[in-house]
């Protein structure tokens, strides 16, 4: 069995405490992971000033080159995974085995990680809005005749990572390229990707001390959030709420992403069905950028029916089936609880589960040790508790709402794809305080532009601009 050790200051650390990971279908042991104590994490974080100094001594040009090289290594070479040497294909199989995410998804998401590593210069240009990266070497410089000066906000960057989608690992990767040491707590079932990225970075020549993989319990996660100067936290609202007002923590919780149809386009809704389907169900519908609400001034029932008919055809398929469209729940109890929660909310009058009527069967599918949740489209009014709800499977509400009210009541929305050519509505959308990312026009919510920030700007999280003057003596 594979043993995945922690990585403490770049050195492998085999703990006396381990957690076992099993195959979501067979229940066979796949790996055991060393678990480290919160106090060990705190001790290592206290050394991050030294690690930061090592990174600072390297030029940005060299850092970028090393991260790009890590992208090549990540996708093509055998890399250490504890006691074993792991190929990219083995990595994908292990990732799928313990998370329940189909291999086809895992491969696609690993591709995103590889893309970000290989194109880190483009990503950094997007995050920094094109500053000359050499400015980060000296701390100051000039661009277009103006003095620019940046100082780091922290000595290390922590990330409390999820297990549900390996694509999220593309989000923390730029931190190391920006010369900030990493302290990562992997999701319980997903140590594979962070381990592989860190091993690729090591092989590419990044100073080991700046690379920390800290599998730990909730208390360990708390120590990372307390100790690292800046961090990133993934989780549902019960996990993220305590940190909502902590500026040091960038929260990645539910997205409540939406498609908004304007008065001018509502009658053309059939033209956007494929866009809606992709936005709802791409990547198994588990991402915060998947749409969980379609808001339209009219035709709500017809849109729900059309989406329901298409999504009712989606079936639960095995993890190694190339046609798989849904991720399995490695813990079937979680699927049961989510489905029961949806059923419970459907008891409130005013909502119809359109897909269940079409399908004639429950959304919950159990087979052996695992379970799936089939796509669900609910038609309801704006005040219904299911109108603004997000679940860990392809789910969307279709609600009717006058355009004039939409932006008052949509609530926080990570991605809004607005289908309108109405210039006044477009202007209102641009001014909306609720929307994080705006797609004007028929752009699926799941399609990212990599040269723009996502859920906060990692560069401004890790660096602050300050005034700087100097004169000769």
């Amino acid at each position: 069995m594979i043993h995945i050790p922690a990585l403490r200051l770049g050195k492998l650390y085999k703990s006396l405490a381990t957690v076992k990971l099993v195959h979501h279908v067979t229940g066979d042991s796949v790996a055991e992971i060393s678990q480290i104590n919160g106090s060990q994490i705190v001790r290592d974080i206290s050394r991050m000033g030294e690690a930061r100094a090592e990174l600072q001594a390297i030029s940005m040009a060299k850092m970028v080159a090393m991260v790009k090289e890590a992208g090549r290594i990540f996708a093509s070479e055998n890399l250490p995974c504890g006691s074993e040497s792991q190929s990219f294909e083995d990595y994908i199989r292990c990732l799928s085995a313990t998370t329940g995410s189909p291999m086809v998804f895992c491969k696609r998401n690993a591709g995103k990680v590889e893309f970000v590593l290989r194109n880190i210069d483009t990503i950094l240009a997007g995050l920094t809005r094109g500053i000359n990266l050499e400015i980060l070497d000296a701390g100051h410089g000039t661009m277009d005749g103006r003095t620019l000066c940046f100082s780091p906000t922290c000595e290390s960057f922590g990330a409390i990572l999820p297990s549900n989608s390996p694509g999220v690992h593309s989000l923390w990767v730029p931190a190391i390229a920006l010369k900030i040491p990493l302290v990562l707590k992997p999701g319980r079932e997903e140590p594979w990707t962070p381990n592989r990225v860190l091993q690729a970075l090591l092989k590419a020549g990044i100073p080991p001390m700046a690379l920390n993989l800290c599998p730990a319990d909730h208390a360990g996660a708390g120590e990372i959030l307390r100790g690292a100067g800046r961090s990133m936290l993934f989780g549902d609202s019960s996990t993220t709420d305590p940190y909502r007002n902590d500026h040091r923590v960038e929260i990645h919780g539910p997205g409540f992403s939406k498609i908004l149809l304007g008065e001018d386009q509502a009658d053309n809704w059939r033209n956007y069905l494929d866009l809606m389907l992709e936005s709802i169900a791409a990547n198994g519908g588990r991402s915060c950028i998947n749409v969980s609400g379609i808001w339209t001034p009219r035709h709500g029932k017809a849109i729900a029916q059309a989406l329901g008919e298409r999504l009712a055809q989606v079936q639960a398929r095995a993890w190694d089936d190339p046609k798989a469209e849904l991720a399995a729940f490695a813990n079937p109890d979680v699927a049961e609880r989510i489905s029961a929660m949806a059923d419970n909310l459907l008891q409130t009058p005013g909502a119809v589960d359109v897909t269940e009527k079409i399908r004639g069967s429950s959304r919950l599918v159990r087979e052996g040790r695992c379970a799936w949740l089939l796509p669900t489209i609910v038609n309801c009014d704006t005040q219904h508790p299911l109108a603004n709800k997000e679940f860990l499977f392809p789910y969307a509400s279709v609600v009717e709402c006058p355009q004039s009210d939409m932006l008052k009541i949509i609530g926080p929305t990570l991605v809004a794809t607005a289908l309108t050519q109405d210039q006044v509505f477009r202007k209102d959308l641009m001014n909306s305080k609720y929307i994080d990312r705006i797609n004007l026009g028929p752009i699926p919510s799941t399609r990212l532009t990599w040269d723009q920030p996502h859920e906060g700007n990692l560069f401004t999280h890790l660096y602050r601009q300050r005034a700087f003057q100097q004169s000769s003596f």
Binding site: S15, L16, N37, V42, R43, S46
Partner: protein, 379 residues
């Protein structure tokens, strides 16, 4: 070894007979037990001859310890003696109370004999970095220090407030409170009191280590106008501590290894974990170290208390050696009789060994069926 095990068992059976006679005799008995005996279908004075006979009493329900009058627990034979009351929990509803007269002194004097003088020098002073309030530990550590010829310095620590903060999810406030506790201990350590020994819990040990490494004791010295000694004060060893007596169920092998390797200079500062509570007294551990992967095995102070590791579905059935079970506790002192109390912990049954020729328990952790509803190790 067989002879030692047999002798220990005979002592335990004799203790059972003596203690049951004491607590159920009309002259010396405990009002609670005398009253309880009226409902028994057996006669404790005639039918209890050995440890196994304690099964007749069934399991002890800790709910009996909530509320008063607490005097019902004072044996008639000890009437007139000064009585302490120690409490556990107490964040919701009534706390559980236990009366004590001399037990804590006896328990800790016995434990004192297991402490190596090299690391816990006689006459040296102690720091009690642990809970205060209506708890046995505060007085017991102070008595231990005095028994060994030293003086004990204490901090103020209210664990009930910490539990409330955690339940309110006020994590930042809980951390501030922890810092407040550590700051008090730094003030004591900066006071030239020649402190060499310490009691602490795993969490506070780690917090003290973190504060020392961050230079907070050195800062304290400077703020008091004192010179930082050569070599600095950035480790537990460097601030003069040579022995640590520590307690808490979160003593996992990995934490113990971390303490040994990363906080205590690879065992140069001696640490002995203990397992105990207000009901039992305290159990000592076999010496810890890398040779057995930092495994911690506890042994109750038999015959005054005994630990069994039992099938959680059938408390009468002791599990095999090495197997996991719930910890069942029995206390057998003149002050307090507790037969077969299911602790909130589980662990693996350990065989007798030379120093403690009776059963022990290792890998102690919160009983899995209670783990999600229990807040442990808050300080």
């Amino acid at each position: 070894m067989e002879a030692k095990i047999k002798a220990a068992k005979e002592r335990l059976d004799a203790q059972v007979r003596e203690i049951v006679q004491w607590h159920f005799s009309p002259d010396t008995g405990t009002p609670f037990w005398l009253d309880k005996a009226k409902s028994y279908k057996f006669n404790p004075l005639k039918d209890v001859h050995c440890f196994e006979d304690l099964k007749l009493f069934g399991t002890f329900e800790d709910e009996w310890l909530r509320g008063g009058p607490v005097q019902r627990w004072v044996p008639r034979g000890l009437q007139g003696k000064p009585v302490y009351v120690f409490e556990t929990g107490g964040t919701t509803g009534l706390p559980k109370s236990r009366i004590v007269i001399d037990d804590f002194r006896i328990d800790y004097e016995m434990m004192s004999e297991t402490l190596p003088d090299k690391y816990f020098p006689r006459g040296s002073n102690w720091l009690m970095l642990g809970p205060t309030g209506p708890r046995r530990l505060r007085l017991a550590i102070e008595h231990l220090a005095q028994h060994r010829g030293g003086i004990c310095f204490c901090i103020d620590l209210d664990p009930r407030w910490v539990v409330k903060l955690i339940k309110m999810r006020q994590i930042e406030m809980a951390n501030l409170y922890k810092e407040h506790c550590i700051d008090q201990s730094l003030t004591i350590l900066a006071g030239d009191h020649d402190i060499k020994c310490m009691f602490t819990t795993p969490k506070l040990l780690a917090a003290l280590d973190e504060a020392l490494r961050a230079g907070k004791l050195e800062d304290k010295f400077r703020s008091l106008g004192k010179k930082v000694p050569p070599g600095g004060l950035r480790s537990i060893k460097s601030c003069g501590i040579t022995g640590i007596f520590s307690g808490g169920t979160e003593f996992t092998p990995e934490f113990t290894r971390e303490a040994y390797e990363e906080m205590l200079d690879n065992g140069e500062v001696y640490m002995t974990p203990t397992y105990g509570n207000t009901l039992m007294g305290l159990a000592c551990s076999k010496p810890i170290g890398p040779e057995d992967q930092f495994k911690i095995s506890y042994y109750a102070p038999q015959p005054r208390a005994a630990i069994q590791v039992v099938n959680p579905k059938n408390y009468d059935q002791v599990v095999d050696y090495g197997q996991t079970g719930r910890v069942l506790l029995t206390t057998l002192t003149m002050e307090f009789f507790v037969p077969s109390f299911p602790e909130r912990d589980e662990g693996e049954r350990e065989p007798p060994y030379d120093k403690f020729p009776w059963d022990g328990v290792s890998g102690v952790r919160t009983f899995s069926e209670l783990a999600s509803s229990t807040v442990v190790g808050v300080y």
